[in-house]
């Protein structure tokens, strides 16, 4: 649904606003690197604007800290209504290495709703372009949760009340499951 909404509402150009709420500037440099002519994000219509009132998309870097959370919320509320938020980097996605520090509130989704997550520390410029392309519906999503099991648990229990028959012919009804 979000993909269709993106294609409808953000079909032409995305104007991005670039908000750092206490990161280390690594993700800022990668975002600005993605806007350079070598990667040339403007062929997708992505353009950097200086004010949140002009922007469709907010690119968040850095965790929500105690000092900047209110300013980040104000910048989000200043954006006009169909708006997307991208959390870029492991600080914005999960709070980063100092997620339990006294001055860090946590990921930016504690303050503002986040639509897309771009993981990495910092993510490559290709990863940022890939995330925007996934949001626009140009490319399929590759990430999926992985789960491994070395043994199957729980082992099914033996229920003697399911025994049928008497004498030599005794059938256990759930024998296939055991």
């Amino acid at each position: 649904m979000l993909k269709n909404l993106c294609q409808k509402m953000f079909g032409r150009s995305l104007w991005v606003y670039h908000a750092n709420s206490g990161g280390c500037n690594g993700c800022d440099i990668e975002v600005l690197n993605a806007l350079t002519p070598y990667y040339d994000a403007e062929r997708f219509g992505i353009k950097l604007v200086g004010s949140p009132r002009h922007a469709d998309v907010m690119l968040c870097q850095g965790p929500a800290t105690r000092a900047t959370a209110r300013a980040l919320r104000a910048a989000y509320e200043a954006m006009p209504a169909p708006k997307l938020v991208f959390a870029i980097g492991s600080c914005a996605c999960g709070g980063g290495m100092w997620f339990d520090s006294y001055s860090v509130l946590g990921p930016v989704e504690k303050v503002i709703p986040v639509n897309y997550y771009i993981l990495g520390c910092p993510p490559r410029p290709e990863a940022i372009i890939y995330g925007v392309a996934v949001a626009l519906g140009l490319l399929p999503k590759k990430a999926a949760p992985i789960e491994f099991k070395q043994a199957e648990f729980p082992i099914p229990r033996y229920h003697p009340e399911d025994l049928r028959g008497e004498g030599e012919l005794v059938i256990y009804e759930k024998a296939e499951k055991v």
Binding site: G94, P107, I118, P123, E126, A127, Y130, L138
Partner: protein, 157 residues
């Protein structure tokens, strides 16, 4: 010249560290990766005696590679995947359910004493309480200033 990235793939350098991949076949469940994770994003939970859950919460992983470095069985490899962007943060996690065996004698899991615990001094010790300092080698210390002055200490060396 512009890189034609989204239609074509772009090769990463060989030393690039991407998302860590856990191999459940090799993992012995020692928890060394969880102890060394700088972002505390590998969690270990023992459900019961036989079952240990090792959960990698990928959302704050910084791809530092310390887990792959410390793994004794080389069960963690740093892959070169960087296209991990998603709209659901639960896509980043990996979850391993490990079957743990127990000690045949005591029925519990055990671990060796660490290097710090081996360094602890054992046995009787005679530190200097008045001057508040340790006595490591008694000979050099007593020659210069005897710890107990009013008792004549017989030196047999």
């Amino acid at each position: 010249m512009t890189l034609p990235y989204p239609p074509e793939g772009h090769a990463v350098p060989e030393t690039f560290r991407g998302r860590p991949v856990f191999d459940a076949e090799k993992c012995v469940g020692c928890g060394g990766c969880a102890n060394n994770c700088s972002a505390r994003c590998i969690l270990v939970f023992d459900v019961c005696q036989e079952l240990r859950i090792l959960q990698y919460v990928g959302r704050r992983c910084t791809y530092c590679g310390r887990c792959a470095e410390v793994c004794p069985e080389k069960a963690i490899t740093m892959s070169q995947e960087f296209e991990t962007s998603t709209d659901n943060i639960g896509d980043a996690q990996q979850r391993l359910e490990l079957f743990m065996t127990t000690c045949q004698r005591c029925g519990r899991c055990f671990k060796d004493e660490t290097a710090l615990e081996k360094l602890k001094m054992t046995g009787y010790r005679f530190d200097d309480l008045q001057n508040q300092r340790w006595i490591f080698g008694a000979r050099a210390y007593q020659e210069n200033e005897p710890a107990v002055k009013d008792i004549a200490i017989e030196m047999d060396w």
